[in-house]
Each structure stands twice: as structure tokens, then as C-alpha cells.
């Protein structure tokens, strides 16, 4: 074991181009900075953003972070807005890691696998949270808030305070109107409740 301690967290964010995983990263990054943590966050831009599989490696630590990429087996968490995409990166998860995934499929490919099987494989991970992000986002007021629902579902496992997350959700959405701030704060809370922790 190479020093995995409570003040370090390596997260793989996953989803489909356009689902807003970079907004999740924005909120976590800023919250981490407020809490005095070091961070590195590798994003995917360019062609993959056209509806392809996208991921971002997000590393938080109270100490120095060397690599921008998380080694295979080094991820403490897979946080995915889409179940097939969660499955794609499971190999990177530490044996003790947690997978937090939406159960809402994004079917933009012809050979999308059997959803029941995908979810069943996610549930086999000893530590998992599967949340119906579409339903919860609609309940919060917009189906586009699924990313923040999933951030909420992951929040009990993050080494960050909920207040820091809320503050930066507000910063992120304020320029787009008070209504969006409310929707996304509600989305975070509903997601967090769904984690059942």
C-alpha cells in the first residue's frame, strides 16, 4: 500500500460530451482550493466533446500531487453521470474505492448494452451509490441538473465540506440567473439524500 490517507482523494469523473462533467469539476476544484488543498485536474477537450465518452481525472491532496493522471487502481472514486461510462473506468478503481453513478442511460450509440446488466455490474462493486439522476434532476426543476445531482450523491464521500460545494454551485450558476442557482442547490441536496449515507 502506498500511503492512501484521508487527506487525499483521486476521482475519475465520467460522462458523455455535453453532460456537464466539467461543471462538476469546477465546483470541486474551487471548493478544494477554499479548503487549502492542492489539486490537479486533467480534462478532455476537442473532438471527444461531440457526444463521445469524456472523462476527467481530478486529484485532491493536502500534499504535493505529482501526476495529472490517476494510475490504474489509484482512483478512490468513480463519479459518473452515465452508467455505461461508470463501467468503462471501473478498472481504475482501487479495490476499496466507491463508484457513484447515475442509473439514467444516455443512448446515442446503436450497440448500447443491456441496461440491467450494466447496473448489475455496478452494484457488484462493494461500495456503490446508484442514483436516478434524471428523476431527481426533474424534481429539482431541470433535467439538465443531472450532473449536480450526481455531485450531491458523491458529496458524503468527498473530503470537502458541503458548504464549500454549495458556495461554488452558487458562483457557477449565479451569472445564469437566481432560478438556476436554486435548481442546482436543490439538485445537490436531492442527490445527497439519495446517497443514503
Amino acid at each position: 500500500m502506498e500511503g492512501r490517507s484521508a487527506d487525499k482523494q483521486d476521482i475519475i469523473l465520467a460522462g458523455v460530451g455535453g453532460q456537464g462533467i466539467l461543471s462538476i469539476a469546477y465546483v470541486i476544484d474551487r471548493a478544494a482550493l477554499d479548503e487549502g488543498l492542492h489539486l490537479r485536474q486533467a480534462e478532455v477537450h476537442g473532438m471527444a466533446q461531440r457526444g463521445g465518452a469524456v472523462q476527467s481525472h481530478l486529484r485532491l491532496s493536502s500534499g504535493t500531487i505529482f501526476s495529472d493522471l490517476i494510475p490504474r487502481g489509484g482512483a478512490d472514486m468513480i463519479l459518473s453521470v452515465e452508467p455505461l461510462e461508470a463501467l468503462r473506468y471501473l478498472d481504475s478503481l482501487a479495490p476499496t474505492g466507491v463508484v457513484v453513478s447515475s442509473s439514467t442511460p444516455y443512448r446515442n450509440i446503436a450497440d448500447y448494452p443491456d441496461l440491467g446488466n450494466v447496473l448489475e455490474r455496478l452494484r457488484r462493486v462493494p461500495r456503490h451509490v446508484i442514483a436516478d439522476s434524471e428523476k431527481l434532476a426533474k424534481e429539482a426543476g431541470s433535467s439538465r441538473a443531472q450532473n449536480i445531482v450526481m455531485l450531491g450523491a458523491a458529496s458524503p464521500f468527498l473530503i470537502l465540506k458541503e458548504d464549500s460545494l454549495l458556495r461554488h454551485i452558487e458562483n457557477l450558476f449565479k451569472p445564469r440567473g437566481a432560478n438556476l442557482v436554486d435548481i442546482n442547490i436543490k439538485a445537490l441536496r436531492l442527490g445527497r439524500a439519495a446517497a443514503g449515507v
Binding site: 482550493l33 485536474q41 480534462e43 461531440r50 465518452a53 494510475p71 479495490p95
Partner: protein
Amino acid sequence: MKPEVLLGDEAVALAAIHSGLSAAYSYPGTPASEILEYLLRLPAEKRGCTAAWSVNEKTAYEEALGASFAGRRAMVSMKHVGLNVAADPFMNSALTGAEGGLLVVAADDPGMHSSQNEQDSRYYADFARIFCFEPSGHQEAYDMTREAFDFSEKFDIPIMLRLTTRISHSRSVVVPREPRTQNPLRLGRWQDWTLLPSNARRRFQQLLKRQRELLAASEASAFNALTLNPSDRGLGVIATGIAWNYVQENLRGLASTPSLLKIGTYPAPESLIRRLVDHVDRVLVAEEGYPLVERMLRGLYGVPGKTVLGRMSGELPASGELTPDHIRSALSMNPLAHYEAGERPLAERPPQLCAGCPHTDTLKALNEALRDRPGSNVFSDIGCYTLGALPPLNAIQTCVCMGASISMAHGGSDAGIRPSVAVIGDSTFGHSGITSLLSAARADTDMTAFILDNGTVAMTGGQTSHATGPGLLKIIEGVGVPPEHIRVIEPLPKHHERNVRIIREELDHKGLSVIVAVRECVTYSSKRRG
């Protein structure tokens, strides 16, 4: 100053401003686009300098060179293959030198996340015999940019900053320093800047003489660091740029720390390399990109008595992006335990055209018009429409480099392909298609060129296109395409029949036709261009 969370690209842009930048030029391309975008996003008073998208990388380079001639600090940024387009002014600027600091940022894309190749720009720096910085992290990207402008003026050469995708597109904290003011206007000497053979020979001699100084600067640079382990003469590791991070990531898992050399500047610091190699039996060279340092080490005869490991020996993969896991295995460490996810492979999710994209309607109409013409070929280009090569459209057969569609359709037609079709976007046409079309128009080549005018550079995030709308039509007419064979269609499902008919008419024409498909990109419509 206050720490900021920045992309590597943004750290470079901010550092350039703090270096007293007067002008920045670029053409969009992953992973370099965010450098100029950052500058454009700043409020004018904070930016305090010119920042503009150019028509292509060559014009961008020359615009920056003009600003440098005027004594001002200038930056030109581009993706790696953009430097091919700008190679002419780039190579010659090593001879003109720089009056005001000139920084060339080349962002390489190893692993080809969003590119046609993974060429390594350090070879260009070596080719031009200029100095090159390669950061391993964000603070270095900032600090190197600041130093690069000073070096450029000190050594009277352009300086390259070589980035790779994982620096460009990763975010981390940067602590900026006090900004410097801009240079006053001060013109370069004509004897240096007019590359007549007599001047060019003299300037080349000066450049050659300067190589010693460049090497000395590299060997003295704080961005290179040698740490010899006196109690272990077994393994030494040389790591350049971001590969350094992957080595560091794995060090704590090793029983004995190898001797280490971190390289961040080129010409590579030879004496540091010698000291490391002399100290150990085996050297692992970890480089993001081609094996430049590894090849230099091996030479033709190798290093007698030493084993050199790296991309050439197979310890590291010969191509693609490095990862911490590659380095781990090259250091003979066991893989980390990981969750066993079971059955692979999973269904892939490749990128695809957005729902409602105008390109889909154009390519559908083209597919139908070509259905009963078995000898046809569609030469295409760089842009979202390249995705039309994939199912379900399967509409194009080539994509090589910016502008190649029209010239290749020209050559294909000369070789006997009928119908020979080109498909190119408005911005790519402006970038490198105009001269190709001029050539086809002069020859009245029997071919049909589609220009997909969606009004923006969509693939890279909706930047400004220089050849769109009525201006585009004037260019097409201006290069000599007969007006009756310039046809405008609106790619929408409701016009499908009509569009197929127009396309068929032009395919039947024995000469050059241009079909302009005009409809805004649905993702970056007026959103950004407001």
C-alpha cells in the same frame, strides 16, 4: 499575487500578459485553443494588448513576427500540426531573430486525442536551432513563459514553449508574479530582417555561433535538475516535461531512489546527461512524445557498457501518451491492485455529429446523389464533418490536413476519378482551401467542391471564421469559379429532394463546381459570436 486555478494553456496566456505582451495571434486547434481564448475572455483593460484569431497559423506567425520586428513582445500559439503550416516563417525567423520577444507556443497532442498525428515539436525547435522550454507543470508553464520572452530578447531568436495535451488541458494552481510593462516601438535593422542571401548567410553564422550560449543557458537552467544517488549506481532516470511527474508519482514505491535528471529545456543539457550516464549502469529515458533524448543518447554506436531503456527499447510504448502506469512497469514495479471489472470490451462511444447538425443533412444529400455513381470519391478535410466518415453516414473517404480536400480532389480528378468531390468547412477553406480552389479554377478541373458554411470554427469550440457568409461567396467567385456553377443550398431535411437535384446537376457538369451549404452550427450558433 493571488494563486489562481488555471488550465496549462491559461497559465501561459496569463504569463504572456505579465511579460509585457503586446500582441497574440493564433488559429484554433486542440489542445492550443484555450491560450488565445483566455486572452479574448479578459476585459480589454486587463488584457491591454492585441489578441486575435488569424486566418491560419502561417498568417498568425507572420503577424506575430511583424509585432516582434516592431520591438514589441508577441506570442503565436498553435497545435503541433499548425506549426507545419507556419514552418516557413518559423524556420526563417530563427535567422531574422526577434527585436521584441517572440514566443512560439506549440501544443502537441500525443495519443492523438483530437489530431491526425502525434509529431513532436521539440524536433522543430532543434531543426530551427532555437531554444525550447518544456514544462512539467502549471507553475513551470507560467515561469517558463516569463523567462522565454527575456531569453528571446537576450539571444535574439524566437523561443518555443512546447506543451502537451495533459499540461494544456489540466488545471492546477498557479501563483503569478508582478507584471512587467510593454516594450516601446523600436524597429528591427533591415540588414537583419531582409533575408537576401548575403544577409541570411551572416545571420545563419550568428545563429550557429549562438548555439554554445544556448547550450550554456540550458545547462544552467533551474528547470533542469540532476540528483545523483551516491549509494545506488544501478538505475538512472531521465524524464522530460510531463513524464517527470509520472516518474515522481512512482518514486515512493521504490526501495532505492534512482539517480534522476529532470529536463525542461533544449538544447538538452549535455553535461548533466553525461554526469547521470557516467554514474549508473542503466538509464531509463521517459519522454512524452518521440524519443528525442533517447535517440541522442543512443547515437549510432550506443553508450558502451550502458543500457539505455525507453520508447526505442520497448520498455515504454513506441507511440501514444505516457501514463504513470507505463513508467511504473518500466521501473519494474508491480501494478497497483485494482478493482476487477470483468468482461471487456465495452461498447465504444465515439464522438459524433450533434443532433440537428447541418453537416448531416448535406452529407445525406451527397450520399444519395452519389448512390448511382460507383466510381466516385469524396475527399474531405479537418472539421466536425470528418465524423461523417463513421457510420451511419460513411460519407467521406479521406482526411489528411487543412485544405487537402480540394487539392486532392483536383489530383484525383486528373487521375481519372469521376465524380471527384471535395468537402471542406468555411473556416478550413479560409485557412488553406482558397489557394487550392484557385488552382482548380485555373484548370477548370472536373470536380465538385462542397463548402460547408456553418459560420464558425465548430470543432474547437465556436471561434471566429474568416471566410463565411457573403464574403465567402465573393472569394469563390473571385478565384474564378464560373458564377453559374456556384450553387447555394440550405441543408435541412425539408430541402432534401431539391438539394439532391442541385448536387446531381453539378456532378454532371464537366468542369469545376462549388456547392455552398449554408446553415449555422446548432451548437455554437450566435451564442458566442453575439
